[in-house]
């Protein structure tokens, strides 16, 4: 399936994005969303990074739900930060547990997850979490409601044509996102034969029974990482920061996304040297 078709599958109230901060973000898919001029998205991600920042910069976002949005050692996600400070987007600040508990409630048939975990944190109030009395002890508990994304977009290492897939390195909560979402789109570095999957079935982390589309996009997470294929391109992520700081993020978007026809054009523009320096030693 080409990326353009994949973008047509985007619908519903909540779009989940896999990966973590600057690891395994479905950037090729994000570029296609930006090119398609989709607006008003509500996006859930565990830890957001360049994918959120670019979507915000391109004005595709209404609300972000995440426990973190930033570029790790490179600091702030500049466009996200500015948009929240200027109230141009809504930010629903979650915690790791609030997201995991919500997904777990969905996948395990629990009406909610009752726990003391966030008691006392101001985030509890901002998330509008209700409290209940425990039926067993004299204590108050937070009721984490179910989270059920409409579509999950996940960039992963490899799968067969059906979507039986491996998931390696920083896995974050991608397996949970996939199980809890109504529809799942995988972008993958490689498509391999089912026979290859069968050689080591205990390595399969995602079952094809949960997958609606598989799209092959080598380097599809660049400038974020996709272990073991390539590391994050901190140079390029810093370029995003520099364009943003000097008020020229629209130039960046034009140069690298909207003026181009495909992600391959982006990779060509980035250049071979950029892709080589993030390759690990053999």
């Amino acid at each position: 399936m080409p990326l353009k078709e994949g973008v047509n599958l985007i619908e519903g109230n909540l779009i989940a994005i896999g990966g973590l901060t600057i690891h395994r973000k479905p950037i090729a898919f994000i570029h296609e969303i930006i090119r398609s001029k989709i607006k008003g998205l509500n996006v859930l991600t565990f830890g957001g990074g360049p994918e959120i920042d670019l979507l915000v910069a391109a004005d595709c976002i209404n609300r972000v739900e995440a426990a973190y949005v930033g570029f790790e050692i490179l600091g702030f996600a500049p466009n996200f930060r500015k948009a929240v400070e200027n109230k141009k987007i809504e930010f629903k600040e979650c915690t790791e547990y609030s997201i995991m508990a919500g997904l777990l409630a969905t996948t395990f048939g629990a009406s909610f997850i009752p726990s003391k975990t966030l008691m006392g944190s101001d985030i509890k109030g901002k998330l509008g979490l209700r409290t209940i009395r425990s039926p067993f002890k004299d204590e108050e508990l937070i009721a984490y409601p179910p989270i059920e994304p409409d579509v999950a977009i996940i960039h992963i290492q490899r799968s067969d044509m059906y979507g039986n897939a491996h998931l390696e390195g920083v896995t974050a909560i991608d397996d949970q996102l996939i199980k809890a979402s109504k529809k799942v789109i995988l972008t993958v570095e490689e498509i391999i034969l089912p026979e290859k999957i069968m050689e080591n079935p205990s390595k399969t982390r995602i079952s094809s029974s949960l997958v609606d589309a598989v799209i092959k996009v080598p380097y599809g997470a660049h400038p974020t990482s996709c272990f073991p294929y390539y590391a994050y391109d901190l140079w390029h992520i810093n370029e995003i920061i520099e364009y943003s700081r000097s008020g020229k993020i629209e130039e960046y978007l034009k140069k690298y996304v909207s003026s181009l026809d495909s992600f391959q054009d982006y990779l060509d523009k980035i250049g071979k040297n950029s892709l080589t320096r993030v390759k690990p030693k053999q």
């Binding site: 949005v69 929240v84 790791e96 966030l118 008691m119 944190s121 390195g169 909560i173 397996d175």
Partner: protein, 276 residues
């Protein structure tokens, strides 16, 4: 006085919090903590379990040194005995909380140990929207021992009251009697527990005066009559840090801000991309 830098002193202080068979969790972007964890494992805590990168990867041994900025995921995987999902990391947090070592770096911390990594200023109209507290709010409610490090001990970090409680520090005096917060900064080490409910200075780093620490803290610190100096790094520790664990100096990234940090970062990754 031995030849060491303040980041190396902090690293050795942090390493001391790791016991053998501790389960060490490493958050996002905490190279100072990474170096400390590896130092502990290379010296007094060989059987510590180190889960790297948001808890997903268990590092078995130190084959995969030196620590890397650009290829840390690759390095962790090459020394891994077990790859976990974040869900499994939380399962460990809940069932083994007393064995867990995880250092947090707050943007603000107050005298009750509350931390803030959410916003500076008003929540709805923030002066600075910070990246977020990720799992800190959860962990603070679970861990009996809360470990904090502050590479830049300043008034704007050690505040009277945090602008927003991302995570609650010491609370519920009756139920959490043994709960405590330990802080290692670039000036000294501090401690807050549920019994006293007072933030106390424990040691000061060599060359740092009590006055200097007070001046850089917005709230009143409890200062015991006699304050010892922080235990110094040994030569063996320093040599390990410099030659084996972190020759490229990733630990110094957290001591710096702005352009200085970026410049050091670009130096480090440039080097790493070439010598691979």
């Amino acid at each position: 006085m031995r030849d060491f830098t303040i980041d190396e002193l902090m690293v050795t202080c942090m390493a001391r919090e790791v016991e053998d068979r501790s389960i060490v969790l490493q958050g996002l972007t905490t190279p100072l903590a990474t170096v400390a964890y590896y130092l502990a494992k290379a010296t007094h805590a060989p059987n510590a379990y180190i889960y790297q990168l948001a808890g997903n990867i268990l590092t078995h041994d130190l084959k995969a040194l030196p620590v890397s900025m650009l290829f840390n995921e690759f390095q962790a995987m090459s020394g891994s005995l077990h790859v976990r999902s974040q869900m499994e990391a939380y399962e460990t947090i809940f069932t083994k909380s007393s064995s867990i070592v995880e250092f947090f770096r707050p943007a603000q911390i107050d005298k009750y140990g509350n931390v803030n990594n959410s916003v500076i200023g008003n929540y709805e109209s923030p002066k600075v929207r910070l990246p977020g507290a990720f799992g800190i709010p959860d962990a603070l409610g679970i861990y009996p021992k809360i470990l904090v490090y502050c590479p830049r001990h300043e008034k704007r970090v050690f505040v009277e009251k945090v602008d927003f409680i991302s995570g609650l520090g010491i609370f519920d005096r009756e139920k959490y009697r043994d709960k405590e917060v330990r802080i290692i900064s670039n000036l000294g080490t501090l401690r807050l527990d549920n019994k006293t409910q007072e933030m106390q200075l424990i040691t000061k780093h060599p060359g740092i005066s009590i006055e200097e620490i007070k001046e850089n803290t917005s709230f009143d610190l409890t200062i015991p009559k006699t304050i010892q100096e922080t235990e110094l790094p040994t030569e063996h520790q320093i040599s390990l840090i410099r030659s084996k664990i972190d020759p490229n100096g990733t630990r110094r990234l957290e001591m710096l801000g702005g352009k200085e940090r970026l410049s050091l970062l670009l130096d480090i990754i440039e080097k790493e991309s070439k010598i691979k």
